[in-house]
């Protein structure tokens, strides 16, 4: 099963991934509704340009109090079932990465669904900073991300 990973240092902060994410899911340009984020500046102003996206760890899945409102699908993504989600926000609180939020329009939880196995952010990143890879290749890049923390 593939993972969505970040290749360090290649991101230039253009946020095309963010726009593609909102456009593919909602048909409009709305970064506030996107599931991928780009940190451009640290709080002290240092420019970093780092994309961050859900690692599909499932902490939110365990936190969700509504049976069937969150499920892991066949590509391994933890996805929100909008018809069952109550928008309570426990998943948002539980996520240590800031990767799930209440959508400002639907008022339901919203997160990365890996676009069903063809992530638009990866396809459209002009700098090759994102990849959707098989476990072994993905592991190396995940380890790099951890090693850099």
């Amino acid at each position: 099963m593939k993972s969505l990973v970040i290749i360090p240092d290649l991101c230039r902060g253009c946020q095309i991934c963010v726009l593609q994410c909102s456009f593919q899911h909602h048909g409009t340009h709305a970064p506030s509704r996107a599931a991928i984020h780009v940190i451009r500046h640290e709080p002290d102003g240092r420019l970093v340009d780092r994309p961050v996206v859900c690692v599909q760890c499932g902490i939110c899945l365990s936190a969700c109090p509504v049976p069937g409102a969150m499920v892991r699908n066949k590509v391994g993504a933890v996805v929100v079932k909008e018809e069952k989600c109550t928008g309570c926000g426990l998943c948002v609180m539980s996520c240590p990465y800031g990767m799930i939020k209440i959508d400002p329009v639907t008022m339901k939880a919203s997160k990365c669904d890996l676009c069903g196995g063809e992530p638009a952010c990866v396809e459209h990143c002009p700098f090759g900073a994102l990849a959707y890879l098989e476990p072994e290749q993905a592991a190396y890049l995940k380890r790099i991300s951890v090693a850099r923390r």
């Binding site: 230039r12 253009c14 726009l19």
Partner: protein, 635 residues
């Protein structure tokens, strides 16, 4: 006509700083169709609402921060906004474009344009959040640098992801070429927008938006985007796309610019230096940290650099870009790239235009060399050619208006009047805007562009440069719109009027769509622009319609200048640039401009302007549906 807006978000935020009142008004569809956004819609507002002859630093001036219908969308290069105002540097039409993320953020907050008018009694900043705004005290920010201001405000408003534009200490001191800075080190440079902010006691505008920019035809629009993206990645040859050069930033062009005689050197006495490549290599190998893109840009030409040790130690910061390096190296004849990085950093933290700032310093060097400025005036500073200590010191003095810096902070035209002797004839400016760093002698359309650009001596607003550093493949794309085939020779003085008009109007389309001009070289051609626009806004605009709107805007801005007294004489370019370069490989007869007046005649002819005065004719204005403008000017 439906009230719903697409592409545009449909609202203007107007802030009266005198009364402390914030109001919202709808965009007018009629204006949007006639002028589009950015510098087009703004030209209409400033034409209607300003009176001729006002003091640009008085409360009666207005400052518009404007996005376009494609700003913030997936269209490549959409991270733009333009600042429009009457310029305190030139007293004519002032505009400057800025990249980064602020323009898109304004639209996500629900506004296409922000109109700032009046003058606050005390320092204030504006906080815009999702369709609303409030004026807040900025007394604690007085004298704060650009990055400090932004860092403090991101925390203070409680949204770290908010974006700010601000005036630095130079803007507060009314340095006439102070910038409006954005996203730490992006700049709406040139023309002195920062001084206008300073004159209004407005320190910053912080914006956070959670809204959307819908498009009228999403399926068609995303196809246009994919086509434009592909072009950006592959044009003109997938194995050697132009994008590769832009990926290394504008400094990657310095070698070529130098080698083709496009690099003004030693205050423009010649146009070849021979060290262009060395500057790029040093920057890349020793000081470069990373590249950074503006919003939705697949080129990512921005630099982020530092000087780790030594006299010019500089923390990681944005730039330097080509114009800045040329201005702080070749122009003052100084090969110290580290000093140039330091000078760039200082300009950014004080909030000053690196082009005008480096220009006035090199100008002062030549005046010093000629004995027109003495040591006493400079408090002991030796302004000799190539003296990097003097350059960096002078940058700080200008920002603080300290000593002779106070004279140079007025810009080259006013400084030359103070210095006297032959300084006025020497000063390289048009309409008061200092020359940037491309030499017009081997590219005579650039000479005409310098003469006739509405904001003064400028190489990009609104020109799509048709000169020696750009390629025939690109120029060919404008052949259907009137560029000659085969292209005219760079040294030719025949046919340049036509080429200048076509490239100006085509370049203008980027300004009114809210896009970065670099994308005209990477495949975002007129037909693609028109298609993206049509599918975004939902009304059909062809490539020819788009050019017509651009021509209308260009003429309206010209009429703004006519109202301020601009005539044919103001379209003249400085004597030095009409003469043969003094030395170097391009010091040849054909590099001199023999008949600039003839070039101007041809340009006025194709523009439909009166040759004697340089004023657009009533016939032309009526053809462009600008009858009210002709009436107002009594043409």
């Amino acid at each position: 006509m439906s009230d719903k807006w697409f592409g545009f978000v449909g609202k203007i935020l107007r802030v009266d700083l005198t009364k402390g009142v914030v109001s919202k008004e709808p965009m007018k569809k009629e204006f949007a169709k006639r002028f589009l956004g950015g510098v087009g819609y703004s030209a209409k507002i400033l034409w209607d609402e300003l009176k001729g002859g006002i003091d640009p630093l008085g409360p009666e001036n207005k400052l518009i921060l404007a996005t376009g219908p494609l700003t913030g969308t997936l269209c490549p290069g959409s991270g733009s906004f333009s600042a429009c105002f009457k310029s305190p540097l030139t007293n004519v039409w002032g505009e400057s474009r800025c990249g980064g993320d602020w323009g898109p953020e304004l639209k996500f907050a629900g506004f296409d344009l922000l109109v700032l008018e009046g003058k606050s009694e005390k320092p204030v900043y504006l906080w815009v959040l999702d369709g609303d705004a409030e004026i807040r005290s900025a007394e604690h920010l007085t004298g704060k640098s650009v990055p400090d201001t932004e860092t403090i405000l991101r925390r203070e408003v409680g949204y770290y992801e908010s974006k700010a534009v601000s005036a630095g200490p130079a803007g507060e001191k009314l340095v006439r070429f102070a910038n409006i800075m954005s996203c730490y080190d992006r700049a709406a440079g040139r023309c002195g927008g920062g001084a206008v902010m300073g004159s209004k006691n407005l320190k910053a505008v912080v914006v956070r938006g959670h809204g959307e920019i819908p498009v009228a035809r999403p399926e068609a629009f995303i196809k246009d985007v994919e086509d434009a993206e592909k072009a950006a990645m592959e044009y003109p040859d997938p194995d050697a796309p132009y994008r590769d050069s832009f990926m290394d930033g504008t400094m990657a062009f310095m070698e070529t610019i130098d080698e083709v005689g496009d690099l003004p050197t030693k205050y423009g006495v010649t146009n070849y230096w021979g060290k262009g490549m060395e500057m790029f290599d040093l920057l890349r190998e020793r000081h470069f940290i990373k590249s950074s893109a503006c919003f939705a840009c697949p080129l990512g030409c921005g630099r982020y650099s530092e000087v780790k040790t030594g006299k010019w130690t500089t923390p990681p910061s944005g730039g330097p870009e080509y114009e800045t390096v040329a201005g702080f190296t070749a122009f003052p004849f100084c090969d110290d790239i580290e000093a140039a990085i330091r000078a760039n950093y200082l300009c950014n933290v004080y909030g000053m235009d690196t082009i005008s700032c480096s220009h006035v310093i090199a100008f002062a060097m030549e005046c010093y060399d000629r004995g027109w400025i003495d040591d006493k005036l400079l408090d002991g500073l030796k302004l000799t050619w190539g003296n990097s200590d003097a350059i960096v010191t002078m940058v700080e003095r200008i920002a603080k208006r300290d000593g002779f810096g106070d004279v140079l902070a007025e810009g080259v035209k006013r400084a030359a009047e103070v210095i006297g002797n032959g300084a006025q004839e020497l000063a390289l400016h048009v309409k008061g805007l200092e020359m940037p760093y491309h030499d017009p002698r081997p590219a005579k359309t650039l000479a005409l562009q310098y003469g006739t650009a509405n904001r003064g001596m400028c190489h990009v607003h609104p020109h799509e440069t048709h000169d020696v550093v750009h390629t025939p493949e690109w120029a060919e794309t404008l052949v259907p719109y009137g560029l000659p085939e085969p292209p005219i020779d760079g040294y030719s003085e025949e046919g340049v009027g036509q080429v200048t008009m076509v490239t100006q109007d085509s370049g203008m389309t980027m300004e009114i769509l809210g896009l970065c001009k670099f994308h005209v070289w990477t495949g975002l051609f007129l037909k693609r622009r028109a298609s993206l626009l049509s599918d975004a806004v939902g009304w059909n605009v062809s490539d020819l319609d788009l050019l017509k709107i651009a021509e209308r805007v260009f003429n309206l801005q010209r009429c703004f200048n006519v109202r301020e007294g601009v005539r044919r004489k103001d379209d003249m370019i400085p004597k030095r640039l009409r003469e043969m370069p003094a030395f170097g490989p391009f010091s040849k007869k054909e590099a001199a401009i023999a008949n600039y007046e003839g070039m101007l005649d041809e340009y006025y002819e194709v523009r439909g302007w009166d040759k004697k005065t340089g004023i657009p004719t009533r016939k032309k204005l009526e053809e462009l549906e600008l009858k009210e403008v002709a009436d107002h000017l009594n043409i």
